[in-house]
């Protein structure tokens, strides 16, 4: 039987279209359809995170041809949290996703996240003893002894300083080794040197005008990480072992008061409540010489680094009050419990906990590894980059954080407790109220919320 060219084209074209449609609908046997599982991955982040995830997906898909990962990107973390909740309620949650650290326990206890304990423990790589920085990793990942996610990274606060201002004053900047960390009183004295009013007078000088300061020593923001670490540095706790707010202990309140005093008693820090209204962010202030030291999270190194600053800059540990301390946290990568593809979803989440993915973000200064292999001399070569990381920066990851980093596990109900009680109290501190006047009531209210949330779970 002979067929015309037109009939041949019709037949082949029609067959191909039908096969494609059947494959799409899942009607073809596995041998005929390309057996690829699609999984979704929700998360947030700016341009750097977005690009990083996309490039990780490319590598993962090349290594795992049977899995397609679809990246569901939301720019803001807050919006992502609400989108995730709504999608869980609607039964359309992604297979895998970022989980905000302040909502991780709530989602885990609420059954929204898949228990991956056995998968982690039995994994030939991740299950190796000492693969993660411990005990910090287990502290944050374990909820009632089970793992529901793996920490994406660690982030923590430290100083970013204008090295040229230190050189001009002949002051040795702080480092990350124990003997390079300032005592609080020493820090205050140095702050007075850097702070100047328009007539060049320092705090404590006769005629010093605290309303006309043109150069500040330090900017210490008033939100939970930099304030919580002050509580720890002074021998208190941000969160107690029972998962309650501990900011009403005498040590914690003294630590908080020390930060408020930087602004209102010592006049060496700008009013942080008005930081945004200074018209400059801390990077511009350090860059322009109006600020000697900025307290900021380690992630800020991705935009406050030697290659992007106009002045020589450096990094160092925050001063100790009773002890050195910096709070460590970060978002998690989890498999959502409602996934239809738990095996493929786990393979993707596992990939995110391997050095390749973490190195990508560590190289640009956004992250600090939670994998010990990346903290060895060899491992450091994989992510420490000249121009991004100041010369001493690796010590923050290898020395300071393992010893002085405080990993916090944020309890269920924390978001409500923070919104309703703790954040307004922090705003009060930023406005000059005394810690002992406002923290006890705020902590009482917050802990009532946390205890009620615990009872609900």
């Amino acid at each position: 039987m002979s067929i015309s060219r037109r009939e041949f084209l019709k037949l082949t074209g029609g067959s191909a279209t039908a096969a494609a449609m059947l494959a799409q609908l899942g009607y073809l046997p596995p041998a005929l359809a390309q057996d690829v599982t699609n999984i979704t991955f929700g998360g947030w982040g700016g341009v750097a995170e977005d690009e990083g995830v996309k490039s990780a997906i490319e590598v993962f898909e090349a290594e795992n041809e049977d899995i397609d990962v679809e990246w569901l990107h939301t720019p803001s973390a807050g919006d992502y949290g609400r989108v995730l909740l709504s999608s869980i309620a609607a039964g359309t949650a992604p297979d895998t996703g970022f989980i905000l650290s302040d909502n991780y326990e709530t989602l885990a206890v609420g059954g929204a996240l898949m228990d991956i304990t056995d998968l982690v423990k039995n994994d030939p790589l991740l299950g190796q003893p000492g693969y993660f920085l411990e005990p910090q990793e287990a502290n944050r990942c374990e909820v009632n002894g089970r793992w529901y996610g793996i920490g994406s990274t660690w982030v923590a606060h430290h100083f970013y300083y204008n090295a040229e201002m230190f050189e001009a004053e002949g002051i040795t900047p702080p480092g990350f080794q124990d003997d390079e960390i300032w005592e609080w009183e020493e820090f205050l004295e140095i702050c007075k040197v850097f702070t100047k009013d328009s007539a060049g007078r320092h705090p404590g000088d006769a005629g010093f005008d605290s309303e006309d300061i043109v150069q500040w020593a330090v900017d210490w923001p008033f939100w939970w990480m930099p304030l919580g670490l002050a509580a720890h540095a002074n021998g208190g706790e941000f969160l107690t072992e029972d998962g309650l707010i501990g900011l009403d202990s005498p040590e914690a309140m003294e630590g908080l008061q020390r930060i408020t005093d930087l602004v209102y008693a010592h006049h060496v820090a700008p009013r942080s409540a008005a930081l945004a209204s200074l018209g400059m962010n801390n990077v511009q202030m350090v860059d322009s010489g109006r600020l000697a030291m900025a307290v900021d999270g380690s992630w800020a190194l991705s935009w406050m680094n030697p290659s992007l600053m106009n002045v020589a800059m450096g990094t160092g540990a925050l001063p100790k009050m009773q002890q050195p301390a910096s709070i460590m946290q970060a978002h998690f990568h989890s498999v959502l419990a409602g996934t239809d593809h738990p095996e493929e979803a786990w393979r993707w989440v596992r990939f995110l906990a391997t050095p390749f993915y973490q190195e990508h973000f560590c190289k640009i200064g956004l992250w600090i590894p939670n994998q010990t292999a990346m903290l060895t001399e060899e491992g450091l070569k994989g992510w420490i980059r000249e121009g991004i990381h100041p010369p001493n920066y690796s010590q923050f990851a290898t020395d300071y954080l393992p010893k002085h980093g405080v990993a916090v596990a944020i309890p269920p109900g924390y978001i409500e407790a923070a919104n309703d009680y703790i954040n307004p109290a922090f705003e009060g501190l930023a406005n000059g109220e005394r810690a002992e006047d406002i923290m006890p009531d705020a902590v009482r209210g917050a802990n009532e919320v946390l205890m009620a949330a615990k009872e609900d779970m």
Partner: protein
């Protein structure tokens, strides 16, 4: 088999047309009426009545998005009675409403009188005064955040130029409410246009008669303009109160309820309760509380102020 019955869809279509053709003219018009209002009815049911009914159901339940709603009886209602954060948000909302609504009415009325004048380029002035009310809420919030900037904001620049202090508009709990009132009053263009329409609807003959009787400018305003405008003032008052209880975007974007809960408006509190605290049942109770407040408020406004409104054609 004939050609037109070979295609069932076509036959179905023809059947519908045949049925339509059998209707009387009155029935056709009724049917078309329903077709045309269907989009609204659907929208109303899906996006208003449906959610309101679900919110009603949720008031008796605890629901955190993660597990199925759990019946808790009146627990959400009793929680409301001892909730200090709710008390604060109600206080913030009521204070804002009491200050901003009358102020907004006076300002809109004043502007409407200004742009009711007849001179060249008046259309340009009317457009300029109306423009703020059509600026998108997010852009409006960002714009005012900059205007209220303590160090570099235009408002503090003017105040300091006259020797005034540097005010922490958005950082100081004592000033931030005034900042929100100013921000709101700036957007009175909508009310202004309604006032303008009302002013232009007052017959000139009333003013002429009053003038002949010796009424001055102030008396014409008191005894002609205000009574004739009372339905418009009343309308703007009711709408103003309802809007003042629904402040959300600016509070979320500019201050996020702070400083120290000074701008924790009721709707922001409801939104946080639902989507941050994951307490949808309690948020539903608060939403119904808002509805109840607005209903009671509207009732009293209609009862005590509505009776003083002058309607030229009360039967209409």
């Amino acid at each position: 088999m004939t050609a037109h019955t070979a295609d069932p869809a076509a036959a179905e279509g023809f059947w519908l047309i045949r049925q339509y053709n059998r209707l009387t003219l009155r029935q056709r018009r009724t049917l078309m009426g329903y077709v045309f209002i269907a989009p609204f009815i659907l929208g109303f049911v899906l996006w208003w009545l449906g959610p309101a009914a679900v919110a009603g159901y949720l008031t008796f339940h605890k629901w955190n998005f993660l597990a199925a709603p759990k019946f808790v009886g009146m627990a959400n209602f009793s929680k409301m009675l001892g909730d200090p954060i709710l008390a604060q948000s109600l206080k913030v909302t009521i204070v804002f409403s009491v200050i901003s609504v009358p102020l907004g009415l006076v300002f809109a009325f004043f502007l409407a009188n200004l742009i009711n004048a007849k001179f060249r380029f008046i259309a340009i002035f009317r457009t300029i005064y109306f423009l703020p009310s059509i600026v998108p809420a997010v852009a409006n919030a960002i714009l005012w955040a900059w205007l209220f900037n303590t160090e570099f904001g235009l408002i503090n620049f003017v105040i300091r130029a006259f020797g005034g202090p540097k005010i922490g508009w958005l950082q100081d709990p004592n000033w931030v409410m005034l900042a929100f009132v100013i921000l709101t009053v700036w957007g009175v263009g909508g009310s202004m246009i309604i006032f303008l329409a009302g002013l232009q609807g007052i017959p000139q003959i009333f003013y002429e008669a009053a003038e002949i009787d010796g009424a001055g400018r102030w008396q014409r305003l008191l005894y002609v303009t205000l009574p004739m405008m009372s339905p418009i003032i009343f309308f703007n008052l009711v709408i103003g109160f309802i809007n003042s209880f629904q402040v959300f975007v600016s509070a979320l974007l500019i201050t996020n309820g702070g400083p120290q809960r000074a701008t924790l408006f009721l709707v922001l509190h409801i939104w946080r309760t639902a989507f941050s605290s994951q307490k949808m049942g309690y948020a539903a109770v608060l939403s119904w509380l808002l509805f109840l407040i607005l209903m009671v408020l509207s009732f009293f406004v209609f009862r005590y102020i509505g009776s003083r409104v002058y309607y030229e054609n009360p039967g209409d």
